[in-house]
Symmetry: D3
Subunit: 325 residues, 6 copies
Amino acid sequence: MILRIDKLQTAMPPPSDPDPVGASAVQELLGGKYGEMSTFMNYTYQSFNFRNRQGARPFYDLLASIAAEEFGHIELVSTAINTMLTGPAEGKPGELGDLGGVKGVRNTQHFIAGGAGALVQDSNAKPWNGDYVFSSGDLIEDLTHNFFLETGARNNKLKVYEMVDHPAARALTGYLLVRGGVHQIAYARAIENLTGANLMKMFPSPRIPTDKIPECQPHIKRGEHRKLYRFSPEDFQEIAAVFNGPHPETGEDLIIAEEIAPEGAPPYDLPPQEAVFAPGPDPQMLADVSAKLRSAAGLPKKPTGTVANDSNGKGIAGRVKEAVS
Amino acid sequence: MILRIDKLQTAMPPPSDPDPVGASAVQELLGGKYGEMSTFMNYTYQSFNFRNRQGARPFYDLLASIAAEEFGHIELVSTAINTMLTGPAEGKPGELGDLGGVKGVRNTQHFIAGGAGALVQDSNAKPWNGDYVFSSGDLIEDLTHNFFLETGARNNKLKVYEMVDHPAARALTGYLLVRGGVHQIAYARAIENLTGANLMKMFPSPRIPTDKIPECQPHIKRGEHRKLYRFSPEDFQEIAAVFNGPHPETGEDLIIAEEIAPEGAPPYDLPPQEAVFAPGPDPQMLADVSAKLRSAAGLPKKPTGTVANDSNGKGIAGRVKEAVS
Amino acid sequence: MILRIDKLQTAMPPPSDPDPVGASAVQELLGGKYGEMSTFMNYTYQSFNFRNRQGARPFYDLLASIAAEEFGHIELVSTAINTMLTGPAEGKPGELGDLGGVKGVRNTQHFIAGGAGALVQDSNAKPWNGDYVFSSGDLIEDLTHNFFLETGARNNKLKVYEMVDHPAARALTGYLLVRGGVHQIAYARAIENLTGANLMKMFPSPRIPTDKIPECQPHIKRGEHRKLYRFSPEDFQEIAAVFNGPHPETGEDLIIAEEIAPEGAPPYDLPPQEAVFAPGPDPQMLADVSAKLRSAAGLPKKPTGTVANDSNGKGIAGRVKEAVS
Amino acid sequence: MILRIDKLQTAMPPPSDPDPVGASAVQELLGGKYGEMSTFMNYTYQSFNFRNRQGARPFYDLLASIAAEEFGHIELVSTAINTMLTGPAEGKPGELGDLGGVKGVRNTQHFIAGGAGALVQDSNAKPWNGDYVFSSGDLIEDLTHNFFLETGARNNKLKVYEMVDHPAARALTGYLLVRGGVHQIAYARAIENLTGANLMKMFPSPRIPTDKIPECQPHIKRGEHRKLYRFSPEDFQEIAAVFNGPHPETGEDLIIAEEIAPEGAPPYDLPPQEAVFAPGPDPQMLADVSAKLRSAAGLPKKPTGTVANDSNGKGIAGRVKEAVS
Amino acid sequence: MILRIDKLQTAMPPPSDPDPVGASAVQELLGGKYGEMSTFMNYTYQSFNFRNRQGARPFYDLLASIAAEEFGHIELVSTAINTMLTGPAEGKPGELGDLGGVKGVRNTQHFIAGGAGALVQDSNAKPWNGDYVFSSGDLIEDLTHNFFLETGARNNKLKVYEMVDHPAARALTGYLLVRGGVHQIAYARAIENLTGANLMKMFPSPRIPTDKIPECQPHIKRGEHRKLYRFSPEDFQEIAAVFNGPHPETGEDLIIAEEIAPEGAPPYDLPPQEAVFAPGPDPQMLADVSAKLRSAAGLPKKPTGTVANDSNGKGIAGRVKEAVS
Amino acid sequence: MILRIDKLQTAMPPPSDPDPVGASAVQELLGGKYGEMSTFMNYTYQSFNFRNRQGARPFYDLLASIAAEEFGHIELVSTAINTMLTGPAEGKPGELGDLGGVKGVRNTQHFIAGGAGALVQDSNAKPWNGDYVFSSGDLIEDLTHNFFLETGARNNKLKVYEMVDHPAARALTGYLLVRGGVHQIAYARAIENLTGANLMKMFPSPRIPTDKIPECQPHIKRGEHRKLYRFSPEDFQEIAAVFNGPHPETGEDLIIAEEIAPEGAPPYDLPPQEAVFAPGPDPQMLADVSAKLRSAAGLPKKPTGTVANDSNGKGIAGRVKEAVS
């Protein structure tokens, strides 16, 4: 089972100019064959289906903990998409022409089916599907798959980076290129340990110069390119048995983080988009009901959640007003 | 982001007589339109796409925390399927006829594509897909969807209960019928708070007599039918603002659990299935490599993970041997 | 637009021994690429998309009226499937083992997703989809497609006839082979009129000896093999301009029916299947509510609908009781 | 079975400036998960699969008659799409560049696969599929689904209204928002009758102010927002037992129409699009053949069908000429 | 089995101005329901599944040899697409904005999933699938299907011709319209021989004036419109038994080519696209490795393959340099 | 382009006891994600999309020639399936019960949609689709994919071997395990040459003991496990530059075959299946027409094709008679 922490694994920028066309490209990183739904679900099901876990515990722990990190990745990609979709649907509820500006975008379902929100689709609007999950049961084969999956994932991330220059997309791809690289190394190390093949020689794969991509640098400086987290209060101690030795590109030591997860950052509370009724045509009504319910339940007046754009000292109504103006 | 705890939300029985045909029916509860992949992913994406969270915090918290519980449900369904598939592939690796006994089962990919493991498919072997996720952005509408989704989910659980009498399937459906009911109430309560419609009158929906189903009783006795967990170390405090009042069927108070998650139970470490190379044709080799890696990393000799069938006092080899015999 | 008449185009037998495996084969005639959903939807959309209707009215009328008949065909196939699925789910609601007898059937969704009812799927449980609709806008090309579609449809009907000997399946295929043949002739005649190619020489296509199939004979005797109906109170008068001349197999005249539609037959009111909650776990409750509502609305005490198995002189409760026992 | 009437349920405007990009958005209302194919097919199959109809006749009648109305809705959406696609393919058959103007549209299959005609797809060109049909057999559950389905459908209609300002799209969404609302109320009333939950409090759902949308007003004025038709010459008398009481938004009485169906309006006969061979590269040839066939069959010289743009006193050739110029 | 010849069936122009939007339309001819994947795979599987080949050898030979030609067609369509995609991704590997110019194209996967290369999809980015293959086993029926399939294929080719004026698209459609016509005649002749129906009267179908399309003329002049090749060193001699008589449009004799296949033309060696790493971010490295491997294997220094743009007298490095500049 | 040779790459056994359930399992090797359609199409499209071929000729040649071999593999799998489906449909055309024996098989479309013939589907009846093709343009990445694809393909072949003991399935898997291994080595060697990683250490992957599988031995004895063919009259000379060095399992030299393709074996001419009209309900009619056409075209009286079961000295009629009896 899981516990959820209401934070993103890395900070994401606030909304700026909307970019719905760019958002449709970013969808590849969410619902594409090599997107984060695939990495999340592949490792998750491989861990569920893992037989004789005690006999191969270091490998089980590796799969299970990387799977946990990937949840954070689908959250980040969704955040980027939502951020890029913020703006075009700020119009009045129910007015002709409100969405006229996005009639020609690549993925109209962002606004027709969704409320200016992420979809579980790829960049061509094809839904992600369970056929993308590979779980043969054979450990070496699953690891071979995972190494290849991360290769494909890095390819797609690079291309989205090259294609979309919205700040949210850049922050996203800069971070994911670094973290995906760590997972790729982890799987390669696991194969090395089991077969003796020196896969470290294949890095970088694809030949992406992460050291030259500006958006990767802050993460590399923090050592995020050579560190694995357990993502568990107590479990998955044995990843250290697999993830060690020198980084194939920099030669630095691969390490296990002391903290169980990255510190992370609160999400930006994205403003309502009233033309698409997100979270409704009248956000103030929702705020009023929420305030009443909170009060009846003996909760503090101020919302207990933490968001990046919390404006202390203002009441809910004020913040809502601010957000929607 | 999430943390992962290497435990199941409820105890599951060890493997007994295999039931691959039953397992193919249980797949509906994993990858069906109304299966747990759908509940997990719907609430997860609705929480990712939630705008103006501070303005409607109790509802955001509700979605986010129930989403977290649903991860445990895909884990449980997978566990049941894996348990039911244990046995038929215990033969020698690479021998003609090894899988002859499962040539006629309903879902041959359990053994051809997988290693006697769960697939992300429904009971007719159709992959789950992202089209099953509804996230309109409109809070009332999403909640209406979720109430209906839980209705459909309970329908399917009941029918699988009626259809499959394998102990793992019974333990699974007994638990899920109870917990799914709690989520259904939670969404109905949320709608009531926002619209004034008294949805409590619709319960039970469908008209399932959980109080007469023996496998539900232990959970009901423990109060699992009226309790919501936050599933977070610190977040999602405001679910209490929505989930309260009398249980629509029993009249008892709906409550928020003091503990952040159920205590849970360690999973049974399922034995290798060598004919399908799970986790390989030679589990002992994997155990040997693991032992060496563990030792090199300064980890304890004994695997650090906890499983239901841990046989203290026996070495790894002994346990592996035991498992495969 | 359409009007609906609550009758089947031909009489269907009452439930007898259930045949859920046979029902899964019959699904090919509903949701298969060459099933009745395809014929219904192809001609419907071709008529919707028909440009310059006045300029080519006889052909528009032909497409529109055959489309209308095809609705009756999806109704008949569904009826056959429902009839064949009657029985296995007559058990008590919510009891373990109720559906044990159908755990191994080919299409478990008949009972898990549905209530012993038809699905919009083919014989391998693949959903019908809009990709099966061909509507090029080019009249000759659409007619060529339709001639081929009916060829494929007759092929499938014959094979289902050969495969499934349940009385409902036999009644169905016997009727559809005859009526499908009429549509095939109609499209061939239309092509002949537009191109001069003597397609009558291609009949029968496939070389199905309908005159030797016992279940086809009653319909042939009634002339159903050479008659087209307008299926409209006033419209589609011009089908007579295309559908005329000798029948390619028998030499008899092709004719337009004087009546606008076949007389048809009332459907058999299929009994509840309580184990799958169809139409609910407690049909009597539904009957009671219905009686009250009917009375409040000033409607007759006895249901106004006509069904094949109406048992005059018994009250609703009696009939329900009879049906469920 | 059905009878078909060659009229639209409401009048639609003639072609004006083409809007192929808008047409691709309108497709969501045809083949989307919450489009009219879904409403039509859901209620149709629920009526086919309805067990013990006599015992719950008012509810069967409700489903069956609403299903019949929905056929008219797929016809209307198709009409709107065809109208919006009229123009770009009026060029000469077979000339390079004819379709150059629509090379970049969102859905190229409108012109490559189709003849400037509607497709059975959603706004992202995904085909509609049978997986969108829910038919559990359980009456309350099916009604709950239908209430939710109409909620989703209204959401999509509103957004298409906000996005596309072509006159055909506005006429379409104005009408469908009103009629969809009636169906939503009908299903809610049915649930109320069966469970006691006061779903009327949930209206409008979503919170769409139809009373403020200009294109809805003519229909509201005619009472179309509170009236259900039987859509059958003789059947479905018992819908009055369910559809009654006050309208949840206006308080007016819900009523059953005296006429069996709306009066409707003749469709506009859309002009040929010769570049895509619709209905062929040479419409005059089709008109000539049709005239000959009509004459040979003893039919009147003038086409018997009625269209909105009938130009009395002109021969076929004249009308064709007019249409294509 | 097959042998492969590294030549195209007809010469294709070198890259000129890129046209990624046009390329997405051309995809319909590759992966569409009526694209070349469908013709290739339909005839291939019909030949694989052909029973009693000796008894109906002329027809088997016909299917088998046309299938072989169709491989060349998927190669040609892919070539056209690759040619049209050449240019936009010539930027530096890994630079922000490199692909900014194609962010808004219709099919972003051309650059995100692929390396400016063809995809197995249609013009709306839907993957080709095996459901498009019809193989009933019944010879007459399969031939009827094939005649219709070629009709649909010619429709799509014409429309792509009208839509896309890129030189590669024009060369492609000009050639395919001619060759597809030959296959259509072949299947019609086969049906004539088996049934007596004079399908020659249906030509051209659709009514495409290939004699007026400039891009078709060179091929017609060479007689490619009335000639069938065996596409086999020794087999398929009996196609002459079916493919003979007068051409339905020109009256010329249909003939079997003396040569076993068209002479063909070497493909243009398309330049690297470094921004998408095709064939890598550093083509010179690949050239260096290749030179070394070639030398170690005792192969000539100069690549042994023949391409249209071979620049004799320049070393590999020179050619690579030229290609990438 | 290709030439086709009317022979199988290896001899396959004649029909014996039918095994339709086994045939549905074998479908995984045809249309599964890791089946031969995938290997064939992946390498084919990677070769079509290969940029700067002259600069990396040895690798282009490798992909192109292996692609050619894979055509032979889809042919072999289809042959096995057709062989296993021979028998159940030998009944009289159009008789009730003819196909009763296969009503319960796993894939009814083998008989309903097909004529006891192979389908382009996997073992769960899901159609193969173009989404299974990976073609990133990046050579190293494509090779990494291919190495993994062959790993998955070998996994599936082994499992089908273990599951299905029909002689045709055994002959098939015995051969494919050997040849697939060669391709896997070829791709691994290519990666080694480009990166320096010693992938030979990963063999066998999965750990399949081909040297212990009896059905593999004849092929290993003939050296088929270490030999690559060019599959082209003149092209693809440079595969020798990549495929060389010691075999990773046996240490023998990897070699390029002197002959351009395996000698192969004529296919067995499978008998008609009249109940499914394959190749028609009356094979003698087809034989008569064929004889007439052959004679009119000046072809020899005896069919020119070669099949494994050619019965010299008997006329066509005799052979047909023999086949159908």
